[in-house]
Amino acid sequence: MRSLTLAGAALAAMAPVWAHHSGAMFDAQKTVTLQGTVRTFEWANPHCWVQLLVMKDGTAQEWSVEMGATTELYRSGWRPHTLQAGDSVTIVVHPLRDGSPGAQFLSAFGADGMPLGKARTRTSS
């Protein structure tokens, strides 16, 4: 009985925490770098999204890149117009486990190679 309890508690403790939902659909062991053109940048809750057109074998494939909520992006230096349609961008992601073109955002770099956003400010301590 005791070992079951600990096992259950440990499972809950081991998982990372996500802002809105479980991260089970993303493969956190796999990191992919996407280079493409922004189709849309959706500033919304519970997630902001980048719809990114990535060329693959001569064809544009559209990826849905899930970001955090507006508060998280805002505090990370992002703004509603940080990305605009037509922008060239490189985005590092954890892809979906099922292989479809969706992913969780990790970081992004503009056409000039500079990172977008910033490390979150910690002014409270």
Binding site: V17, W18, A19
Partner: protein, 264 residues
Amino acid sequence: MIRPVVSGIVLALLASLATAAPNSARRVQAFARLPDWTGLWETALSKALTTAGGRSAGTGGAYLKLVGHPPFNPEWEQKYQAALASPAVQAARDETLKGCGIGSPEYVRSFPNIMEAPMVFQVVVTPEETLFVMDHGEVRHIYTDRRTHPGADDLWPTPLGDSIGHWEGQTLVIDTIARTAGVLSMFSPAAELSARAHFIERVHQTDKNTLEDRLTIDDPERFIHPWVVTFRYTRAADLTRFIPYDCEADRNPIENGKLTIAPP
């Protein structure tokens, strides 16, 4: 006939004067005795989400208190263990967990879960009541006007329960009852409370930038002794305004027991 009309006019005039009147000296003094908790506060969960991707760097156990093991009595301990092993509960915790939006369970918006799982909240302190205004939209009303809980005929379970409070110096003591029976924490769907659960919180500021909420939960139907968890909140000094966290544009439906991404 004229008399009631005149009385009505006089009453309306008095009401408008009362509305326009400044705070009484007594109320001003009452305000002066209360702590200043203005500004925005963030949970340990929010503090852990340090990237624009919305994922914590560490594991949940480092930030979440309600995922602990409540002190269930033998009957409910057995049920808790069975739930932990249940595929449905495991899926609710590991696969389909959602804080809001399409397919999210109602308990994600219940107390005490909302004391752990908003990102940012505001505390509005007045002599009559203190409000906890959560970015997910919930508002807890803590009445501090010396009222008691409603009588049995006027009370029924709700997700946030019924809260009254009083001040012990600079500490707000909150007493909450009549919380809807069910899951305690969205991160721990195996643990369920009865509608008789009783909650006592002691909220106070430990330093300029830290607010602490020491929560004691007792469930006479299910616990062998009260259970204490402590939430610590940090002042979100980089935010100068309240940003709502709505779920209007949720694109994560659950299909075939799995979270997915819907097209835009």
